[in-house]
């Protein structure tokens, strides 16, 4: 045991520890779960539907989707490389074992509360209220989704007083079946695409929001998604309806433990904005990205779409994507109502072996519809980052306007940035502008910052945050601060 090999291993430990620390959400929660048998077949779907005591129409809808999905093939047009996914090698339902109906947070498993506390998400309203009094924390209503189910939703009573519904979609199916039936699949039909169809068949939970006519939601609504169980896919479904003249700002955050296997996440988000309604939807996606050699990490195949159905309605997507091994995501707007507005602000950071193919679709149908796209892609290590966008002007979209700006920033010389914009205009009065730039983090900037005392890591973080500023300023303040830190942390060690 004189072993120099031993000491060599010991020497590596601090480095390894530092590398592992980088993803601080990588812990797992030891909790008893109830799981559906592994694999996917009609019985799995019946199991999920029965677990949730769903009405017959929903089970039928799920089965229809499943049968269609069996005939579909995985899309491979994106600039993404990964080993084939074995859809039978995954669990489609995993729920923390708990009492059937929770009357208050006191009944939530303390392990779960501890998990969310560790993630910095307090689920106890009084903690928030205490924070508000001292000015420390903003008031945010939270829906927490753990693996396949929603475990807690806060501030329900406060919101209900204004007629706002904010609950898990499972609960909405029970309590507001008409609303769910009217809108579910109305923006993203069950037949939409491979992943959305899979989601329609097996979705387990997610959030449901309804803002009644003329109501301005008095606080941010947010959902925190956490994948915990091993080999479990997370298929959440979010449905958000803003009735005429209403306003809501909604945030979602996502984290997952560090695991060597890839985990599948295929969500669907549908937004509906009626006349004069406004929806602001912000995402900070920080799923586990895999290690520096590309082992593990979440496969994130997400369909997000908003319909501006009403006149003068507005949907604004803001996303900060730092996590996931693979991101396939195109939050889009269907601008159907006259004068409706769609916005897409995106920061996608990819490092190590991460791959992101992300962008948006703006479909202009109504007159005087306007859209703005600002995409900032940052690549480091061996990562690949693609912006893919479609701006489509339909024949009746008189005076439609679009402005697109895509900027890519490269750190190092082994990464890639790609821009794939498509423009289809079928109306000659339309005006569509596209600007794109690609730059490298500049030696001059780095040296300038270091000469002023900044470490290379701080310098990169500062420069990148400046590069993303246009997007980050769209986030609600308290999220923007988190996102800035996240962008900095994600790039740690990318400059050598």
């Amino acid at each position: 045991m004189t072993g120099s090999p031993d000491s060599a291993v010991a020497d590596l430990d601090p480095i390894r520890a530092a590398a592992e620390q980088k993803y601080k959400y990588g812990f797992t929660t030891d909790i008893e779960s109830e799981t559906a048998p592994k694999g996917l077949n009609e019985d799995t779907i019946r199991f999920i539907s029965a677990k949730k005591a769903e009405p017959a129409w929903l089970l039928e809808w799920r089965l229809k989707a499943y049968r269609l999905w069996l005939t579909m093939t995985e899309p491979h047009w994106a600039k993404l490389n990964y080993a084939p996914i074995d859809y039978q090698d995954s669990f489609y339902y995993s729920a923390p074992k708990a009492k059937p109906a929770l009357k208050s947070l006191d009944e939530v498993d303390p392990e779960l509360l501890a998990t969310y506390a560790k993630l910095g998400i307090p689920l106890r309203e009084q903690e928030y209220l205490a924070g508000v009094e001292t000015g420390a924390a903003p008031m945010i209503a939270v829906d927490a989704v753990f693996d396949s189910v929603s475990v807690a939703t806060t501030f329900k009573a406060t919101l209900e007083a204004k007629g706002i519904i904010f609950c898990s979609i499972s609960e909405a199916i029970q309590k507001y079946p008409d609303l769910v039936r009217q809108y579910l699949g109305s923006v993203v039909p069950y037949s939409d695409n491979f992943y959305a169809t899979l989601n329609s068949a097996v979705f387990t939970d997610g959030s449901f929001v309804y803002i009644p006519e003329g109501v301005r939601c008095p606080m941010e609504l947010s959902t925190y998604f956490r994948i915990n169980a091993k080999n479990t896919g997370q298929f959440e479904r979010t449905l958000l309806i803003a009735d005429a003249g209403s306003y809501v700002s909604y945030l979602e955050g996502c984290t997952a433990p560090q695991r060597d296997e890839n985990q599948l996440h295929a969500a669907v988000v549908e937004l509906v904005a009626l006349d004069d309604a406004q929806i602001k939807y912000s995402t900070v996606q920080n799923w586990y990205p895999g290690d520096e050699n590309g082992k593990g990490g979440i496969y994130n195949f997400v369909t997000k779409r908003g319909a501006c159905r009403g006149r003068n309605s507005k949907i604004s997507w803001t996303q900060v994507e730092t996590g996931s091994a693979i991101t396939w995501k195109y939050p889009s707007c269907i601008l159907q109502g006259d004068n409706s507005v769609g916005e897409f602000y995106s920061v996608a950071v990819t490092t190590n072996c991460q791959q992101a193919d992300t962008g948006t679709k703006m479909i202009h149908i109504g007159r005087n519809t306007r859209s703005t796209i600002v995409s900032k892609g940052i690549s480091a290590g061996r990562a690949q980052n693609t912006y893919r966008g479609l701006v489509k002007i339909m024949p009746k979209a008189e005076n439609a306007r679009n402005h697109t700006q895509c900027d890519s920033l490269l750190i190092g010389d082994r990464c890639g940035a790609h821009t794939v914009p498509s423009i289809e205009s079928r109306n000659s009065s339309a005006r569509v502008e596209h600007e794109a730039t690609t730059s490298r983090i500049n030696e001059d900037q780095l040296f300038y910052c270091r000469q002023r005392g900044l470490t290379p890591e701080d310098a990169v973080s500062l420069i990148v945050n400046g590069f993303c500023k246009e997007v980050l300023k769209e986030l609600p303040m308290e999220f923007a601060v988190e996102a800035q830190k996240l962008v900095g942390i994600s790039l740690e060690g990318s400059v050598g």
Binding site: F447, Q451, G466
Partner: protein, 249 residues
């Protein structure tokens, strides 16, 4: 304060500095003059630790320490400040944010407590007022859309806030009209102190009308060719660099 002995440096294998000797005492102002391409900017980059410049011989001792062994940020934290000939733009980062990062990075290095937002603003406002710089400049992105004069004034502001013990001013007068030059020079003069040494790198004598140096050196062919007092600058202005340019050709 600063002792440079027989300093040799290359860029891409080409030797630019061929044995520089220079000693700068505390509180002294030295001007380094010379024709274009004589190695003036290289000297400032080597002292600040820029990558790509390889020191092939000699030594630089700063405050008793081996300066060349330190990273650029360590040198900054030890009080070495380089005012850039062409200040760099950092889009999306406000001057305030940049300065705050810089001040606190240096304070951390020195084992001092970081300044909070209020303390920091108080420090910066004091400096902007003293230098006659509007607070509006603080909100703008670092050097983005700044005029030549504004960029140089911004360098002086950074210098005032970071309070270095050795300031290297690289062609601070270049690209400035006479009014801008006077404003920048006033700023530099206001920062003269017995605890602060300065090295002014300049092609023209005119800066030295406003900032009067204690010593003037002529740098050509990678070496200091002549040294003298302030009068040497005036002599060069009258005679030009012809004497030093011929041999270069």
């Amino acid at each position: 304060m600063l002792i440079i002995k027989d300093l040799h440096a290359t860029i891409d294998g080409r030797e630019i500095l061929k044995g520089i000797n220079l000693t700068v005492g505390p509180g002294e102002i030295h001007a380094i003059m010379g024709p274009n391409g004589s190695g003036k900017s290289t000297l400032s980059y080597v002292l600040a630790g820029r990558e790509g410049y390889e020191v092939t011989g000699g030594s630089v001792t700063y405050d008793g320490k081996d300066l060349l062994a330190l990273t650029p940020e360590q040198r900054a934290a030890e009080g070495v400040f380089l005012a850039f000939q062409y200040p760099i733009e950092i889009p999306g980062v406000s001057n305030t944010t940049f300065l705050k990062y810089a001040v606190n990075a240096i304070r951390r290095h020195r084992g001092e407590q970081e300044l909070d937002a209020m303390e920091f603003l108080k420090l910066v406002r004091g400096k902007t007022r003293a230098l006659g710089i509007s607070d509006d400049m603080l909100k703008r992105a670092v050097n983005v859309g700044f005029s030549g004069g504004e960029k140089k004034r911004n360098e002086v502001l950074q210098m005032a806030v970071l309070n270095p013990r050795l300031a290297l001013l690289d062609e601070t007068d270049s690209g400035l009209d006479i009014d801008a030059l006077r404003i920048v020079a006033d700023g530099v003069n206001a920062l003269r102190s017995p605890e602060r040494s300065m090295v002014l790198i300049t092609h023209y004598q005119r800066l030295l009308d406003y900032i009067v140096p204690d010593h003037v050196h002529v740098l050509a062919w990678g070496r200091i060719q002549r040294s003298g007092g302030a009068e040497l600058a005036r002599e060069l202005e009258a005679k030009g660099y012809a004497e030093f340019a011929e041999r270069a050709a």
